[in-house]
Structure formats: C-alpha cells, structure tokens
C-alpha cells in the first residue's frame, strides 16, 4: 500500500522535473532561469529522498542531501554571484521563436519516451517508467544548450542536463555507488568554477557573452 503511494509521489516529482525542463526551455530571463534550476534541484533531491525511503537504501539519503546542498544552495548561489559580477542579471535573450522551440521539445519528448520503452522493459525496478522522463529532460536541456546564444544559459543547460542524468540513475538503478556520486558532484562544482573563469575570459576578449563571436577564430 505504502509502496504504491511512494511510486505515485515519485511519478509526480518526475513530471515536475520534466515540467521545469520545459519552463527553462522557454524562459527568457537569466535570473529566472537560475531560479528554475534551483527548483529542479529541489525536485530532484526530494525524489531521491523518496526513492531512498521506499527502497531503504542508506547511501541514497546521503546523495539526496548532497543534491540539496549542491544544486539548490551552492550552484545557484555561485551562478547568482557570477551574473551579478558579470552584470548580466537583467539580460533578456532574444530567442529563436519560442513556439517552434516548444514544438521541437514535444517531438523530443515523444522520441525519448519511445526510445526508453524497450530499455525500461529490461529493468526490474519499480520506477522503470521514469527512464523515459529522465531521457526527455536530458534531451530538452540539450536543446536548450543548442538554442541559446549567450554563455550563462548554456551552462545552466549543461547543469540541468546533469540533473536529468542523475534522475535517471536514481530512479532506474536506485543510485550509483556513493564514490561515483561524490565524484560527479565534485566534477559539476569544479566545472561551474571553470565556466565562471571562462565567462570572464570570453567577455574580456569579445566584450560580450554572445558565443557566436567565437565562430570566427581567425585574426584579421
């Protein structure tokens, strides 16, 4: 009985994860993008916690806590600081046609769901339907990275993609060994630091964070 309720809650959280991925895809403001990323982290942490509770696995509690600390508090704080320092807090990005992007997003979701259907049949875990959702949010984040022209939203897209992967790991296989999780968490943290340094370098060289300037690498 409690088992079915936890599955329902995990399903609901998974849907929220996908919903936030969609919201990020259509979001124009950098500040709200980062806030959405923090919310996604919170949903991820909650779902990991529920999986930990329902399967009674100790190390998943740790990874839920780690997610909460890193993706809800530290990374958004870092990004907030970064955009304040870069003075791009109120930047509004002109996106290429949001309705088209959303339609492509829907197609990606259908593709991901179909792709995941045979994979999830191999899995024996209770939450195998979620692989499709995780794959869809990974693809949506990838789409976001492709459609953005500024550097900061691309990095947020990258981090959101990692969220999707992490969700796939916890929901489908009930978590990786703690060592792997720690390693990934540290990698993401370090990556964000390095991206921050890159941002400053890009801006110093091109006077803008628009990465389309980087397509021209020749001196002239």
């Amino acid at each position: 009985m409690t088992m079915t309720y936890t599955i329902q809650i995990i399903n609901l959280l998974a849907s929220m994860l996908l919903l936030i991925a969609f919201a990020m895809l259509t979001q124009r403001r950098i500040l709200s993008l980062i806030n959405l990323f923090a919310w996604q982290g919170l949903v991820l942490s909650l779902s990991t916690f529920v999986v930990a509770y329902s399967t009674d696995q100790r190390h998943l509690y740790y990874s839920a806590g780690l997610t909460l600390l890193l993706k809800v508090l530290v990374l958004p704080w870092l990004l907030h600081r970064l955009i304040r320092k870069l003075n791009v807090k109120w930047d509004v990005e002109t996106l290429i046609n949001i309705p088209t992007t959303m339609l492509v997003g829907i197609v990606l979701v259908i593709f991901a769901f179909n792709l995941a259907a045979p994979i999830s049949q191999l899995s024996e875990s209770i939450t195998r339907g979620l692989i499709g959702i995780a794959l869809a949010s990974v693809l949506l984040s990838l789409l976001m990275m492709l459609t953005r022209r500024k550097a900061v939203p691309q990095v947020v897209g990258f981090l959101a993609m990692e969220n999707g992967l992490f969700f796939a790991a916890t929901s489908a296989t009930h978590g990786m060994p703690l060592v792997v999780e720690l390693g990934i968490a540290l990698d993401v943290l370090v990556a964000t630091f390095i991206f921050g340094i890159f941002f400053f370098q890009i801006r110093e060289t091109f006077d803008s964070l628009d990465i389309s300037h980087m397509e021209k690498l020749k001196d002239d």
Binding site: S15, F22, P99, M102, I106
Partner: protein, 319 residues
C-alpha cells in the same frame, strides 16, 4: 410513472440550475472584491454585480438603426448556452438527469456556439471596434479550444469516459491516486480559463481602453437588458469554467450516485471551493501583467503543449 429517485433527480437538477444562475454574479462580485483588496482599495462590495444587473434591466434598450435580428437574439442565445453548460456540469451531484445529455466534447461545442454568435453580433453593426474585438476573440479562442479539449482528453483517458459525471465518479469516489498527468492538465486548464474568461494576462475585464480590450470591444453596442444578459452570461461562463475545474481537479465532495443525503455537504464543499477559487483567481490576476495581444498565441500555445505533455505522461506512466 416516475420513481422517487427520478423525481428527486429532476428536482435537484432544477435546484442546481437556479443555484448557478443566482450565484454566478456573486462569484464575479467576490473575485472583484478580492482584486480590490489586493490593490488596497475598498471595493464595491459583493453585491455590486446584482445592483448593476438591476440597473441595466430597468433601462430602455437602445439599438443601432441597422441592427439585425441576430444582434437582438444573441444575448438570449448567449445566456441560454451558458446556462445549459452550467446544467450539464456536475456541480452538486453526479447523478443528475441532464448530465448524460452531453459529454465534454459537446460542452466545448456549446461554448463555441456562444462564441460564434457573440462574434457575429459584434460584427453585425459594422463598427470598427466590434469587428476588432470579434477578430481578437477568435484569435484567442481558436488557440484555447484545442488546449481545453486536450485537458478533457487527459481526464477522459484516466476515467475511460468523456462524460463529466463518469470522470468525477472515477476521480473522486474511487481509491485516491495521484495523477501526474492531471497536474499538467491543471496548469493548462488555468491558462485556458484565464484566456476564455477575458482575465488579465490576455484581456482585462474592467478596462474600457479601446486598444487593449477584447471582450468589451465586442459588447460595446449593447445596452440595457441586452447588456445585462451578456454580463450575466459572462458571470455564468466564469462559474461554469470554475465548476469544470473543480469537477476535474478537486472533485471531492460532489454527491455520489444515489446518495442524495450527501447533498448538503456537497453544497458546503462547493461554497468553500468557490471562495478559494475566486480568491486564487484574483491573486493570479494581481500578480500577472496584461500581455501584448501578439504574446497571447505563445501563452495559449504553452497551454496546448502542457496538455499534450499531460497526455504523453499518461501514456508513459499509465497514470
């Protein structure tokens, strides 16, 4: 001969219809009052819509000299459509004799019928504003309608029926289940509700600024009893939409089949839900800003995609 059950059913059907017609202006008054409070104003009071209606009914109607029969008939058709819609929706009980008459698709059709007539009537006089309002209304509604249908389909897939009473029965009177797909459908429905009832991000119901209005532009030529009926019909429409929302997403408390004893409780539950929904609507309107008319397709496109996403989630998770 009718059995007592049938007689009771008809009695309560009549009761629900009268209740809806009489309560609808009160709901509008409540939403306006909440809005006034949120804007630090005193507000006109809950009964203001009734006073407006009484005033309008006592005036003499003025008609444009080239108004056709269509223009005269439209307020009555509009009012009739909205009343019919409100009679179909299970508001206080599931087992009412009217509700099997039409399913959710027909319900969307009833709303569309009203929309076609009001738009035609707006163009009938031939003023620029009427035509402008009618065109904008059509722009908004042709995007809102598929989203509404998709929301209904999500609920229909869960309950295996397009009849609203069956949907309510499946959602409220069986074992409690969390449906992620309904969360998406709920969001989409809120967007459709805002757009279809001329609420703030799409249209401002209290504006008389010519360039931004949609609904007001269409009814500019109406006066006196005709205007009263149109206003009353908009109140009824808001009531009907909120009732649909309650039936789909918060159906707990609506009386079950054959359980007439639960009716007093159902009415109390309905009041509480309406008060909450009205306050939430006012809060939403206070938080959002009116968007440009050309942003409306994007807004409604979001609703449609959310509803489609709900359907997909239903197929993936089976819930």
């Amino acid at each position: 001969m009718m059995s007592t059950d049938q007689a009771l059913g008809i009695l309560f059907q009549v009761y629900q219809s009268l209740l809806v017609v009489l309560l609808a202006p009160l709901l509008t008054g409540w939403v306006n009052q909440c809005r006034a409070w949120l804007q630090n104003r005193n507000g006109p009071g809950l009964l203001q819509p009734y006073r407006t209606l009484r005033k309008l009914f006592h005036k003499d109607a003025v008609m444009a000299y080239n108004a056709s029969l269509l223009f005269r008939a439209t307020p009555y058709i509009l009012f009739g459509c909205m009343w019919l819609a409100a009679a179909i929706i299970p508001i206080i009980a599931v087992d009412l004799p009217f509700s099997p008459a039409a399913d959710v698709i027909a319900l969307v059709g009833v709303f569309a019928l009203a929309r076609v007539f009001i738009s035609l009537a707006a163009m009938d006089i031939g003023t620029a504003f009427g035509t402008l309002g009618a065109r904008r209304e059509m722009l908004v509604s042709f995007l809102a309608e598929p989203a509404l249908l998709m929301v209904f389909f999500t609920a229909s897939l869960i309950s295996q029926s397009t009849q609203l009473p069956r949907i309510v029965d499946a959602l409220a009177h069986h074992q409690f289940v969390l449906y992620p797909s309904l969360a998406f459908a709920g969001l989409a429905f809120v967007i459709v509700l805002l757009a279809e009832n001329a609420r703030i991000p799409v249209d401002n119901p209290s504006t008389h600024l010519e360039l931004t209005m949609i609904h007001e532009a269409m009814i500019l030529e109406y006066s006196a009893r005709h205007l009263a009926l149109v206003e009353w019909a908009s109140s009824l429409k808001l009531f009907a939409y909120i009732s649909i929302g309650i039936a789909l997403f918060l159906p707990y408390g609506i009386a079950e089949v054959g359980n007439w004893g639960a009716l007093p409780l159902a009415i109390i539950a309905l009041m509480v839900k309406l008060i909450l929904a009205g306050a939430a609507l006012a809060l939403l309107e206070a938080l959002l800003a009116k968007m440009r008319i050309f942003r409306a397709p994007e807004f409604l496109g979001t609703a449609f995609l959310l509803a489609v996403l709900g359907l997909l989630i239903h197929f993936l998770l089976g819930a």
